[in-house]
């Protein structure tokens, strides 16, 4: 962890990385659906008007136009709130991007519960379930600024369609500042401990790391895994973890239906040994509050994660 360095939003990192990349990658195009401000892409768009396309509040056309651009040898990065991008536009993602194999990078901004008090219309607590079910589409959710930067540098050069879910808030640092590793299908182990395995990704990784620290004060040593690549999944590592541990606890900012926990469960059911506890959002519209209040309510804050781990270990 690199707490001495100022935390940043994923949007800030993405805008800076793309602004750098466009200087040497002139085919890079940013598309927005009246979402440039929410995406933090205003400076990219004003500095690079020839590499920017606005489609208006029309998320279906946003994705289809991006697919047409990619077909015509451009490298489009599409920015829209995850809630709309993965539901309003899901058929365009399935057909025009994934099925047609167009090199479109879909950036779902303000993902998960970022728009906590704006209600279910603006929540994307099912986006991973939806996107992971689409063939030919990679799915990622980075946890901090350094991992986001590494992921972006991969995406800029990759030729495969991908969906990335990022949140809105400043991300606490989970990685060292020179972190540059990103490999599709590769999870990262951030902490080693023999008593319990905690697996998370995205914005719940930081409270999961904090929970591991709380557990350590109570004599419980936790391994902490950052999944980051939700599809492809690091099945090899999950297989090993399922053999090694008696208990795995997954933590996600997503519905417990067909999210990260469910994906882990699929692997564990085939290979293990380990029991699995899934922490996430219940199958109901989320309550209102700040994101921190909502996380605490659903047991996704550090204290709750630690408590759940202790209870589960006791069986």
């Amino acid at each position: 962890m690199t707490n001495s360095i100022e935390s940043k939003t994923a949007n800030e990192v993405i805008c800076a990385t793309l602004s750098d990349a466009v200087k040497t990658t002139p085919d890079l195009v940013v598309l927005t659906s009246d979402s440039r401000g929410s995406a933090g892409m205003t400076s990219f768009i004003s500095d690079n008007p020839a590499n920017s396309i606005e489609t208006g509040i029309a998320e279906q056309n946003l994705v289809t136009v991006a697919a047409g651009l990619a077909h015509a040898h451009k490298r489009p990065f599409v920015f829209s709130p995850a809630a709309f991008l993965t539901m309003r536009s899901v058929e365009q993602v399935k057909v025009d991007v994934a099925y047609s194999k167009t090199n479109v990078k879909l950036i779902g901004i303000s993902g998960g519960n970022s728009y906590s008090n704006l209600g279910t219309t603006h929540h994307s607590l099912q986006d991973l379930a939806i996107t992971c079910a689409i063939p030919n589409l990679e799915v990622y959710t980075p946890a901090d600024q350094f991992e986001t930067r590494a992921l972006l540098n991969y995406l800029i050069h990759s030729k495969k369609p991908a969906y990335v879910r990022v949140g809105k808030r400043k991300l606490d640092n989970c990685y060292p500042k020179d972190w540059s590793t990103f490999v599709p299908g590769k999870a990262n182990i951030l902490r080693n401990g023999a008593d319990i395995c905690l697996i998370s990704a995205g914005e719940t990784l930081f409270p999961t790391l904090q929970a591991a620290s709380i557990l350590a004060t109570k004599g419980i040593e936790a391994t902490v895994v950052d999944l980051v690549s939700i599809k492809p999944l690091d099945t090899e590592l999950l297989h090993k973890l399922a053999q090694k541990f008696n208990l795995i606890l997954s933590v996600e900012e997503h519905s417990i239906i067909n999210g990260i926990g469910a994906q882990i469960a699929t692997i564990i059911a085939q290979h293990a040994h380990a029991k699995l506890k899934i922490l996430g959002f219940p199958d109901e519209p989320a309550i209102s509050g700040t994101q921190d209040e909502v996380f605490a309510y659903y047991g996704l804050d550090a204290e709750s994660i630690a408590q759940k781990a202790i209870l589960s270990l006791k069986g």
């Binding site: 015509a72 057909v95 025009d96």
Partner: protein, 276 residues
Amino acid sequence: MNTIELQKKALTIREAVWELIYSAKTGHTGSDFSCIDILTALYFDVLQQTPDTFGKPETDTYIQSKGHAVEALYETLALRGYFPKTDLNNFSGFKTHYIGHPTNDIHGIEMNTGSLGHGLGLGVGVALAAKMDKLTKKTFVLMGDGEQAEGSIWEAAMAAGNYHLDNLIGIIDHNKLQISGSTTSVMNSESLASKYTAFGWDVIEINGNDMTDLLDALHQDNLTSKPRLILANTIKGKGISFMENQANWHHKVPSESQYLEGLNELKAQKEALEND
């Protein structure tokens, strides 16, 4: 290519499609026959595209939004030399790439379509890329008229008008029928001409089964700085008398006697052309 030669090509494609659907026992027969003249004009006269230049940045793009008329596209591409006609022997069969909707696994096909309402937005993307790269290529998108009820078409139409995509040509195969009946009875989309005009398009209305009309419209220079819509009034099932203007031939497969009768009609039309 002169008009008579193109009309002969269109009849050759009609025979091939009729045969293909009869043999495979599947296909969108009426929809295919409606747009075969449009496809013939495009692939044998208008499109700046050959099997060798297909997919290059400067090459014209054709996107078939009404993907279900794929048999017409397959037989046009085969006759134009994009792939051997024998490739279609396993049409819709086990493990074939030649399925019931277009996919870009096949040489000559740009994008995977079949779900309606996607083609125009794809065309907007390709046309925007051409503008960004200062290419003079054109992008053609063929849509159905029933398809005009899809909201996504109007998102794309608005964007094309907004961006003054005068390098984009939308064509509506306006046969006034869709699977459940007449387009006015299922969901009235008239007037399509005034709707597209209001969205910032230059609209030309023609007889879409008339080769002279088609060539005139498809070759006509666009000096308007607007995207162009060719509203091609067509006859669903055009070319076989008992199939013409019948909604129930949307995806009907001919019986043996219908097949033979249809084949005779097409042969007679070809002979009439030869004697012209």
